[in-house]
Symmetry: C2
Amino acid sequence: MVIVKHTYIADLKHKVGEEVTLHGWVYNKRSSGKIWFLILRDGTGSTQCVVVGGQVPDEVFDLDGVLTQESSVSVTGVVKEEKRAVGGYELEVSDIRVHQIAQNYPISKKDHGTAFLMDNRHLWIRSKRQNAVLKVRAEIIRACRDFLDSNGFVNLDTPIFTANACEGTTTLFETDYFGQKAFLAQSGQLYNEANIMSFGKVYCFGPTFRAEKSKTRRHLTEFWMLEPEMAYCDLDENMEWAEGLICHIVDWALHRCKEQLDSLERDTSQLRKVKKPFARVSYTDAVEILQNSGEGFEWGGDFGGGHETIISDHFDGPVIVHRFPAAIKAFYMKRDPEDERLALGMDFLAPEGYGEMIGGGEREADYDTLLRNLKQHKLSEDAFQWYLDLRKYGTVPHSGFGLGLERTVAWICGLSHLRETIPFPRMIYRLEP
Amino acid sequence: MVIVKHTYIADLKHKVGEEVTLHGWVYNKRSSGKIWFLILRDGTGSTQCVVVGGQVPDEVFDLDGVLTQESSVSVTGVVKEEKRAVGGYELEVSDIRVHQIAQNYPISKKDHGTAFLMDNRHLWIRSKRQNAVLKVRAEIIRACRDFLDSNGFVNLDTPIFTANACEGTTTLFETDYFGQKAFLAQSGQLYNEANIMSFGKVYCFGPTFRAEKSKTRRHLTEFWMLEPEMAYCDLDENMEWAEGLICHIVDWALHRCKEQLDSLERDTSQLRKVKKPFARVSYTDAVEILQNSGEGFEWGGDFGGGHETIISDHFDGPVIVHRFPAAIKAFYMKRDPEDERLALGMDFLAPEGYGEMIGGGEREADYDTLLRNLKQHKLSEDAFQWYLDLRKYGTVPHSGFGLGLERTVAWICGLSHLRETIPFPRMIYRLEP
């Protein structure tokens, strides 16, 4: 059901020869005697509006000296094809209605420091670059949902308020919940595991929270995570779902975000190489790759960003690492039946040094084993009684994973810092605007 | 990109004559001598599996005496058309593989009290009724996104952590943010207003939080809200967007949730009446309707649920109420240029007594007026400086609204309580499971 209220710049190709009124903001302006050009942006694109002396009332022509960057205007004119103009069309202006002349817009074309831009994030998002990144983000969200919806996954929102902390409380945000303590969820996985027993395949996609004290370019305190979970699914199938999702995201972005990726100067040849099947390597073999590359890495440790880059460079493309030491993985991860030291986890590493985008694995489905793991991790049996119940009443092999949205956006757009991948980033020293 | 890993009950219509293996849970069972029937559910539906003595190994036939409700099984057999069976197909069983026999599943077909069911929410969601409601929820989410995506809205996630409280702190959840106070957002609107200046039309769709002490059937502490916001959009156009969205949701549910609405015994004739254009009535005229109906309602007050029902019954269908007393509306709402006492707000009331689903309005676009309103509401000018900036640098007429997802699900499904409309509801005395 499409509702058309007014014409947008993205519609101009269907309006050649017609008179339209566009509503937007002044992006740029240049004059050359009896003619001046207004570059208008309206959220769907930007276009050149040509104002010719004698063809418009004097007061409209005189706006040349008045209009400033970010002034809000409605521009009426006839649409013409013009190959040399940005977007391929232009407007022969007959009238301009001014809503507001913007005075002293603080962000100019010159370079600003990051702190200044972050303080003015509410305005910075208007820039061409930020607009492009956030549009790619919106398209990646659509790609994720399209992939899962088309494959029979049911979107179920898991709770943010939780009574219990499953991985310790040090990185959890806490709130007073009518006299009780509540924590903000870092994952919907445990609830997804309940949901699959009713729906087969599910996903949640919402904000998650981590009180990260680290000030790195890869950490936000508030970030969005997509978490699919599948009943009757083992580790191998889990890897296929992760691979399918990543390929769908990359294809979608290449097809629907061409303009944005171009304007971000993203080298898309690297993205075009992302094809099934991805390389798969066990943790143990990956450690050997690290050691052969001269890294003094010991079996049993967790990979850092540098290690991930060495591993993915080795494969020159996307790679899935699987079967990690159980000791470094969460209590709910299933042990490898062929080697008790290993857990059936898997991480997807993006190429070009972007590292881990996805972490997941097969879940422990056996009641007694899960209970033993809970105790080993010194977690309260009582608090997890409902989660243990899932292994009591018709337990099934099941798996799932989490995809970090902001990391994915950074990779697809080729950005080095997560702060540009979300409209209003939240970090240790950043709660405003 | 569709990935097929195994056959689901929903696929049986394409598999007649083929041997398939279904993976699911025992929903029901009945025997009649040399034949017994297993009703299997797998999240996509349920189907009858026919086990005939002599046609399966004895140990499979003997499972009749062993399988219990919610036991997890993989059932192999040939698909047959069978009009009398639920769903129209059945399986001629050749093999059953048992994953787990469920012992003493606590939820039986008999009536349980609400507190018991809520304590066992992680299992209760497996019931046919809860499965149906939550599938309708997932489809309504898709309908919302489909409508907005097709109409050029850009999905931008607004922050949950906010430094400031725009409508007082009494109903806000608070957290310690590295030594600073942060509040959990009740709305993404103010950020949406920044985003439209870059994107034209945007929406956010995420969890919102309200520390409601009220224990009513219409309140959750954590609920999901869809919030579209449009630049260059006045109150009338805002009402058209709300109307279009509601019609799209109702159509979508009628087409895609037929099975679920049937199983919930929803009288869909009431939903079929939801058609454009909706009745529109000013607050002032609505007050007259209340007074004529014998309610002693005074101009200037806020409508309660009972008032909303009288107003919507008067129109025997959906209705939009607009132009409320400014005194009962938020500081950011634009005053009616034709009557300073009024604010350009609008509420959509669902029929059948379901009341307010949508609240919104045109926003104040003028810097000086907004500043005056802020001061009248005793809000900090400093904290809202970024929001005031939006009126300084190319302000435009703009509008938006919020749709409560859980209320919409309750209305479409015909439910009297919000607790069934979200997988794991959070209320004043309910933080688990």
